[in-house]
Symmetry: C2
């Protein structure tokens, strides 16, 4: 059961992490931008254009950022595994010491440290994989992860960003639209925060409040600063 | 030396990761937003206000987002460690099987699996720490990390965002300002991408090009979409 928990946790977490990353910023940044501009301009028109430009910019920047992060992880893994194979060839004694050190650190007796190291270093591939995972803490990345990550983050950002922006499409007075936008977005941030907290194992109500307050703070600050610059 | 590499890698990486997160989005999103608005409005004035609102909103949202991520990591660690202590008390046999499984997976012989598990399970605290780190892959988070993370990400976002926006402060025609903004930001994205790639061990020139192209793509898309909505 515990093992199942870990497995399912790992499987679902990559996609959910991407959705959470995209939606958290999508709900917050376009929301705060629209609120900020509402403090500075009275027509919703310019806010809609700025909002769309932001959602477009943000989703591409974050989506491609996620792609880049995935690719970097792959490159990093590939370069470290090459190095680990090289070190096993050129400095086997040092690698043996490092492996023993690992077993010493987790609390095995000197006798078992030597035996375990001896067994593990018999198979080079297994030894390298062990060093990658437990000495360097690197997991072999999924090669499709970068592309999936880009799509999940980008689309979640768009989905999140449309919510705070939509009132400005229908209400031409920016201050009136702002009221609906604030109400709708805070509710969505609360719901989003609730589910996000449940996934990460945090108290859901506290987590939901935290996420909502962050959005509110960002919007209030943007509103205040934009008003300052106009006055 | 290898060990030093790992250590220094871990030490510097948290702060650098935060700076990279903040600056990557700070350079890209305000840049693309300003570019997008330049396709829609001819006066730099509204772009400056929107840009400042965006930098304000983005830095707070991302900074507080980093804070939240740090806090969530702490809460998650605290709840998992409690559960692990509980499981050792209530289902010790299952935990012993899981520990043996770990040693089987890294390639130890059945005899050593039993001995290593026996030694490790003698000290409860050590056993729990071992399960946390190697079964669940969770590191004990630094309690100050959340606050530091928020500041590093937020300030890096502001530092990054000021670069693409600054030409609009001084040049009243948005199309003219855009040209300077594109030039300055692409150079900065290239330099930023170069250093980011060196840190993560990726080919620096390739990495720099990738980062620059992402920024350019986001800006071009925002410009195009905003123009579509105005026409």
């Amino acid at each position: 059961m515990h093992h199942d928990h870990t497995e399912s946790h790992l499987k679902s977490s990559e996609m959910l992490t991407d959705i959470v990353i995209g939606m958290a910023d999508g709900l917050t940044v376009p929301f705060a931008l629209a609120a900020g501009l509402s403090g500075a301009v009275s027509s919703s028109n310019i806010i809609v254009i700025a909002g769309i430009a932001e959602i477009c910019a943000g989703s591409i920047a974050m989506g491609l950022g996620g792609y880049l992060a995935g690719k970097t992880e792959q490159d990093h893994y590939a370069s470290e595994i090459k190095r680990e194979y090289l070190e096993i060839e050129s400095l086997p004694q040092r690698e043996i010491e490092e492996t023993k050190e690992f077993f010493a650190n987790i609390g095995l007796s000197p006798a078992l440290q030597v035996q375990a190291t001896e067994e593990i270093s018999r198979d080079k591939n297994r030894w390298v994989n062990f060093m990658m995972k437990y000495e360097l803490g690197l997991e072999k990345p999924d090669p499709k992860r970068a592309t999936k990550s880009a799509l999940n983050i980008g689309l979640s950002y768009i989905a999140g960003g449309i919510i705070p922006l939509s009132p400005y499409f229908f209400i031409s007075d920016s201050k009136e639209a702002l009221v609906i936008s604030v109400g709708a977005t805070l509710i969505c941030l609360f719901i989003f925060g609730y589910f996000k907290s449940r996934i990460t194992g945090v108290n859901p109500l506290m987590g939901a409040l935290r996420v909502m307050l962050i959005g509110a703070a960002a919007a209030a600050a943007a509103f205040g600063v934009a008003k300052l610059f106009v006055a």
